[in-house]
């Protein structure tokens, strides 16, 4: 059974139909890269999967439960699916450790002691155990993004959605974040990531989805998609991004 089933999903912003019937099934432990031109709907799709946008048609189910736009269903969904953003979005008034502890305590009602143990554990996992008491100003962009990953992991999600999580980073900081993601992939985390890191997509992902004008234009294993693009659009896209 698929972990995430996306069926005929359509999303409009006013008259602008941004997703025009998306179908993707994601198996557990799959790592999927979403590529495509700006405006092709990659972020919107990820945001729909996390319930940050409501879909107009179609359905999304996660682990068998359908995504419905009321508070209770949304909360249940978000306990299963975490999201990492381009801009990190750490809570600036809290230390790294408290960032990771907060939602455990507030949402899952975990005790402070357990939440702290989990937070230390997760920060260790992203290589930041020593930064527990640091505020975001004391962290580099790469470190902030790793704290954001630890924060999402602490909720023990089944899948993580990553929207261009290295795009806001200085080039020399990209790899430390990708290394963490690679490690997660190896451990069997289901990952859906929008990325411009083609090499990373080729090495780590089980499938690549090329989105074009709100549709899944091509989908397949990276060897196939990158070596043998079937459509002129993908050919052109790859030509633009790889030179």
């Amino acid at each position: 059974m698929s972990l995430i089933e996306i069926t005929e999903v359509k999303k409009r912003f006013g008259d602008n139909e941004v997703l025009k019937g998306i179908n993707i099934d994601v198996a557990a432990a799959e790592v999927i890269a979403f590529i495509g031109k700006s405006g092709s709907g990659k972020s919107t799709l990820l945001r729909c999967i996390n319930g940050l946008e409501t879909i107009d048609e179609g359905s999304i189910t996660v682990a068998g439960a359908q995504l419905l736009p009321d508070e209770i269903h949304l909360k249940a969904l978000r306990l299963k699916v975490g999201m990492i953003f381009q801009q990190f979005n750490l809570f600036p008034h809290l230390t790294a450790g408290r960032n990771v502890m907060l939602s455990q305590m507030v949402v899952k009602k975990v005790t402070e002691k357990d939440a702290e143990a989990m937070a230390r554990n997760m920060l260790d996992r992203v290589g930041l155990g020593h930064k527990f008491d640091a505020y975001q100003e004391e962290l580099s962009g790469g470190q902030q993004q790793r704290v954001a990953i630890a924060r999402a992991l602490a909720m023990q999600p089944m899948a993580l959605l990553c929207d261009e999580i290295t795009s806001a980073l200085d080039p020399e900081l990209v790899n430390e974040v990708l290394a963490v993601v690679k490690e997660l992939a190896k451990e069997g985390m289901t990952l859906l990531m929008v990325t411009h890191e083609m090499r990373f997509a080729r090495e780590v992902c089980s499938r690549v989805v090329f989105m074009h004008q709100g549709r899944v234009h091509e989908i397949g294993p990276p060897e196939e998609v990158f070596a043998n693009p079937k459509t002129p659009e993908l050919n052109q896209f790859l030509g633009v991004t790889e030179h």
Partner: protein, 219 residues
């Protein structure tokens, strides 16, 4: 006719100042509570509540405080509720204050980056949890200077309540003037006392603004 010394005048005014201070504090407290409720209505998801709070704020910001006071005072007596002036004064000022404070605070809440809402949503938090743990702690900092600044308006606003017979500083000024026929001296003192109440508030508002700005940059 008895003679009034300057000291007598000042004593009488200072005694009445207690009521100005008490009314200001009560107004700030209750106005703050109602303002917070309005803030939650206005930034929440329920459309009807948002609409209500929006209308409420427009109404109280768009009419003079004096009219609001009259309407509360005479309106309540019209429906058979004979409220004492202090109660009508407190009620009208509370309603007025809550509208302004909720508007100030709404600006502060909206100044918090959208990403904070999205990140906390994606972690499973509901609206109240987001407000309590993520948004308000950040909005609080930027809200302090304008909130303290507005408390100056409250202190000055209490003067209006003299008109329905509540004996605070301004009303005491009128009464003492009627007895002494020294309006210039009396109202001079009245103004000085208001200034002594307001000046520290506006100074601390400016001080806090500077301090929080610096703290924000270095933190």
């Amino acid at each position: 006719m008895t003679e009034f010394s300057t000291w007598d005048i000042l004593c009488n005014l200072l005694l009445a100042t207690r009521w100005t201070i008490l009314l200001s504090l009560a107004t700030f407290l209750f106005g703050g509570i109602v303002g917070l409720i309005l803030l939650f209505m206005r930034t929440g998801k329920r459309r009807a509540l948002r609409r209500f709070a929006w209308d409420y704020v427009e109404l109280f910001q768009g009419t003079p405080l004096l009219m609001q006071l009259f309407i509360v005072f005479f309106g309540l007596s019209l429906v058979g509720l004979n409220v004492p002036p202090w109660l009508a004064a407190g009620l009208a000022l509370t309603l007025w204050t809550s509208a302004f404070l909720s508007e100030i605070w709404r600006g502060c809440v909206e100044a918090i980056a959208k990403g904070q809402w999205e990140a906390s949503s994606s972690l499973g938090m509901g609206y109240f949890q987001q407000m309590r743990w993520v948004v308000l702690p950040q909005a609080f900092k930027i809200a302090i200077p304008p909130t303290v600044g507005f408390s100056v308006q409250i202190v000055k606003g209490t003067a209006v309540t003299s008109i329905i017979g509540f004996v605070e500083l301004s009303k005491a000024g009128t009464i003492v003037t009627n007895a002494t026929f020294q309006p210039f001296v009396v109202y001079g003192f009245v103004a000085l006392i208001y200034f002594a109440l307001c000046f520290p508030l506006s100074m601390s508002s400016q001080f806090l603004e500077r301090k929080l700005n610096v703290a924000h940059r270095n933190h």
